[in-house]
Symmetry: C2
Subunit: 628 residues, 2 copies
């Protein structure tokens, strides 16, 4: 087969490629990173490259207009080799790479060796009834279970109704699906079993569970095979509640209105139901074989999912109605699943350190390791956990919406059009923008903001106080709110105005990062430790994916530690609920995590406010904390 040289810029690396290979595949072969969030499906638009010389086989399409195509823009995952070519990889297609070089994906297990889920299937081979043995069907079943040392199993009425015909149709070889309620306060007590279904024993005993991560912004679900431990790819969507407010406080307020609670509950259930549909093509009818759903979400999301009024969450002393949840039939809440499907919801620690964090800590494993670890989930409410196998402290920081692009004049969510990467060439005074989706910019997202501020600070365009230095760059100009930095002029944008960074935007970011940093300090000092004692930092949540570690340290959001101590764990809430769906043992660990964690209400903690004030610089008042 013919091979052709493909040259990748700006690294100037040449890779021999076969005709028909995609540019993405060729780059992979040469260990050259090109973003591909969607895994090469041509739908995320993150693998934009520029064809500088030669030809590739490609057509315009999604994320690629005729106009862009004419300029040589291609999607690396869709462009195929047909001769020699020179390919330039723009910065926005390398955004993840800049991160991955620094914070490696945490190598957490996404599956368990031997599943031991809370729902188990027992195959019962029963003696058919006769004149000498005319025990009732249920007595016969219970005796078979007792022979397996499974005593005192309760039973659903629906399972009872299935029982006589299922027994007879299957020649008295049936699979009993039993949900086990695991005692948590007294784990030495036996689990409390409940037969939820009878099915003929066919030999194909696959059965399923679902992990659900109910985020304030997005909802992800993932199907798992409880028999084999196999984990399917997750699917996600925006939480339908978002039209009632972007953050938990606005949701709580809405829940207090007439029918508000019910509407919010319906919205998130609708979102889950839409996601459930998406597995039907690949696993038709899987819902009949799905017995367990394990959901994790912050404390407010858990209340809204279950339909419990969360109002006390935002009223001092911030006492949520519940931080543990009973077993609930998912269909009772409106989920489109079989009546036998049991929903378990992760326990939370406090009003603002929720089940998503417990699930994340479970996934990150810090509760069972000796290293002193900082676990953070950055968002409007940034949650922090510090600890190890012996102890854990946690807190929520009111960071404000800056990390999610809120409270920033040209801020936006991390979506196509958001400026995410930023390089400033001190020598030439030029800057380069990386935009999600490779389209014209329409705003700047939270991680972009961090990158911009860090680059400008390093270049001396921004000072320690967070003020732009007049005359330091051609892009610094007076604006409505003092000086501002012009990121992209209106004519280059898909919006009709300039995209600029104001000093107020920078102040908001400093407040946000300072809230986080002083949170780490407070938790560490509460146990007599300091930042340098941290052996590991785990960054969780969607925000972490595109976070540039060096830049985050530069602005003082992350502690000043060697980059190899940082790792990124992705959607740890979904990972934790996946593991808990696969294993009752792991599910139980969630409760020891909850019990082990000491929660700090930072605003009530002595010293927090002083530390917060001291953090309102770049990177910090106390430069020694950052090796300065």
């Amino acid at each position: 087969m013919d091979t052709f040289p493909i040259t990748f810029l700006p690294d100037n690396t040449v890779i021999q490629a076969e005709a028909g290979q995609t540019i993405q595949e060729v780059a992979d072969k040469g260990k050259i990173h090109i973003n591909a969030s969607c895994g090469g499906e041509g739908v995320c638009g993150r693998c934009i490259v520029e064809l500088r010389e030669g030809t590739v086989q490609a057509t315009p399409g999604l994320y690629l207009t005729e106009d862009d195509f004419a300029k040589g823009i291609r999607l690396a995952c869709r462009a195929k080799v047909e001769g020699p070519a020179t390919i330039f990889i723009p910065i926005d297609s390398r955004a993840d790479a800049s991160f991955f070089k620094k914070a490696s994906q945490a190598e957490e297990e996404l599956t368990v060796e031997t599943p031991d889920p809370m729902v188990r299937q027992s195959c019962l081979i029963l003696d058919p009834p006769s004149q000498d043995d005319n025990r009732s069907d249920l007595d016969r079943v219970n005796a078979a279970l007792a022979a397996m040392e499974l005593y005192d199993n309760d039973i659903d009425l629906s399972a009872m109704r299935q029982m006589p015909s299922t027994l007879r149709e299957s020649d008295f070889r049936v699979t009993a699906s039993i949900f086990y309620e695991l005692p948590l306060q007294k784990p030495e007590n036996p689990p409390y079993g409940r037969i939820v279904a009878f099915t003929p024993s066919t030999g194909n005993d696959d059965y399923y569970g679902l992990a659900v991560d109910v985020g304030t912004t997005t909802v992800f679900i993932r199907l798992v095979n409880l028999a084999t431990g196999e984990v399917m790819p997750g699917v996600g969507d925006l939480n339908g509640q978002i039209s009632y407010g972007e953050d938990v406080i606005s949701r709580i307020v809405f829940a207090g209105k007439k029918d508000g609670l019910k509407r919010l509950q319906n919205r998130v259930i609708d979102t889950i139901n839409r996601l459930l549909e998406r597995y039907e093509d690949t696993y038709p009818g899987y819902r009949e074989k799905t017995f367990l759903i394990v959901a994790s979400g912050n404390t407010t999301m858990a209340h809204l999912l279950v339909g419990l009024d969360p109002k006390n969450i935002r009223l001092s002393p911030y006492v949520p109605p519940a931080s543990t949840w009973p077993s609930i039939r998912a269909s009772y809440l409106g989920m489109n699943v079989a009546p036998h499907t049991v929903l378990k919801v992760f326990p939370s620690v406090s009003s603002y350190v929720g089940g998503d964090i417990v699930s994340g800590v479970l996934a990150a494993g810090l509760y069972k390791k000796p290293e002193l670890t900082l676990f953070i989930d950055v968002g409007t409410n940034g949650e922090i956990v510090i600890g190890n196998q012996d102890w854990m402290t946690c807190a929520a920081c009111s960071a404000g919406p800056a990390f999610e692009g809120g409270g920033v004049r040209c801020g936006m969510r991390a979506a196509p059009g958001a400026i995410e990467s930023f390089l400033y060439e001190k020598e030439t005074g030029k800057h380069y923008l990386g935009v999600i989706g490779g389209v014209s910019p329409s705003g700047v997202c939270g991680s972009g903001l961090i990158n911009v501020v860090a680059e400008l600070f390093r270049a001396g365009v921004l000072n320690k106080q967070g003020k732009l230095v007049e005359g330091s760059s051609e892009f610094v100009r007076p604006g409505e709110d003092g000086l501002e930095y012009l990121l992209s002029p209106a004519e280059s944008n898909s919006v009709e105005h300039d995209i600029a960074l104001t000093e107020i935007d920078i102040e908001n970011l400093i407040r946000a990062k300072g809230a986080m940093y002083s949170g780490y300090q407070t938790l560490l000092e509460s146990v007599g430790l300091e930042m340098g004692d941290l052996e590991r930092v785990i960054i969780a949540g969607g925000f972490g994916r595109s976070l540039n570690i060096e830049n985050a340290i530069t602005i003082g959001l992350l502690p000043f530690l060697p980059v190899d101590k940082f790792s990124y764990i992705g959607n740890s809430s979904l990972t934790g609920s996946t593991l808990a769906a696969l294993s009752g043992t792991i599910w139980r660990e969630a409760f020891s995590i909850k019990e082990k964690m000491t929660n700090f209400e930072l605003s009530d903690t002595p010293g927090y406010m002083d530390r917060y004030v001291a953090s309102q610089f770049i990177p910090h008042t106390d430069g020694r904390l950052f090796g300065l």
Copy 2:
């Protein structure tokens, strides 16, 4: 106060009475028995007396036409002393008396010393939340329960929803109502608790349970106070299913028709709901405070109550779907009670020895006493239990409908108009009829049939083979089906035909009593015992109330034993469920009774048919069994 002599005939006893006392009260004072099923409410019509001399203050009314009144007929419970009087007590007002003189009411406890019901209330005095203690409401509740060594309580969603407001309205002093699922196979395991409701702790902590006896013909319920152990008077009504067939077989057949199961279930639930209404006057709002319903019924009734298809009950090898039942929310089945009310249904032994018998044995206490006891419940399906504290055997006899007035030409249920008592004066050849309600006769009921046959046998009008002796009485005459005995000519009746006993009727009765008797024999012989070893005979069920023991022995229905060995226990099924509602310990005993009982399918048991054939005489082929 003036007193007047009241003379009672036929005993010729004179009692001094005060003006305004009822004749019933005066008779009671003199220990003279007059029937009063309704307890003196004037509604049962069983206390009919005849005013022979003097006057009483009375008016016509229910059960008492102007015509009867003119003849001197009075209701003893409604007629008041206003001067000297002579009162004749007819035989039909002494029917119960003739029984009570022989078989005393069993002195079973209808209440327990200290209630320990399956639902308990725990008063929780909680520390209100504060900045230093902002545990969730549920964590706070669970910690208080754990301090009482009540661990791992599950909770209803509805209770969770009540919790935040109830805690705050009650100043954090609440009563948690917790239902305990008691392990039965492994009773050493801890019970599994579930919080079903929170209420403010008011100091008035009365809460209720209901006992329900679901009979094929009648349904009785009884309210009990679970806090004090107080037992309220029961109320009863015909089972609404009766329009779909009188016996269990016809109900099972109907359940197999389209919507049949649902309709039968609805009917019995409607009946229970009507009965529930009847406590509202005396205990307004009691249903909000009712947490437990314990129901007992035969195996078919239990299936229809819960809504499980009973069809296999009547198909060989007679395997019922279930003989134990999970906890069910009564409101889920349609009962008009609060959602927190849990229904427990008595376990059954086999398809035809049901939860009513287990409940009856529980009430009769024979399972914990050393005496060898025969427990019988006479009906279309007569159930028999023989045993003591060490062992028990049981069986159901297909007696046929004769005991319930079925399969008998002029048979009817024991209701007003039924001939129940019968005296035959051999000397004069005259006979005297006692009719329920003191009205003109319209038929003969089961116990009446026994009394008629016994009297005619003793008088020689009927021979050992069950044939009428021609010429032995002026009432013996040829009929359509051989000879018949004229009980009451058409002109005396409220029906337009003669009421007569045919030889076919007598054959049916002999078959029925023989089925029972050969059942006792079979069970006794299976353990190497004989009739004379019986130390006690307990007769349960409505039929037993009016059963004349001597007559029942005379025809061979009851074993030939001294009359003082017999006792009557009334509605033992309702008594058993009352006790089980009051005590989880007693409820558990129901399961050891079920486990302890060895069930015999008589038709499959060697020797049964021979014994049955031998029993087809009056009293029996083997006269020695009856001291002859």
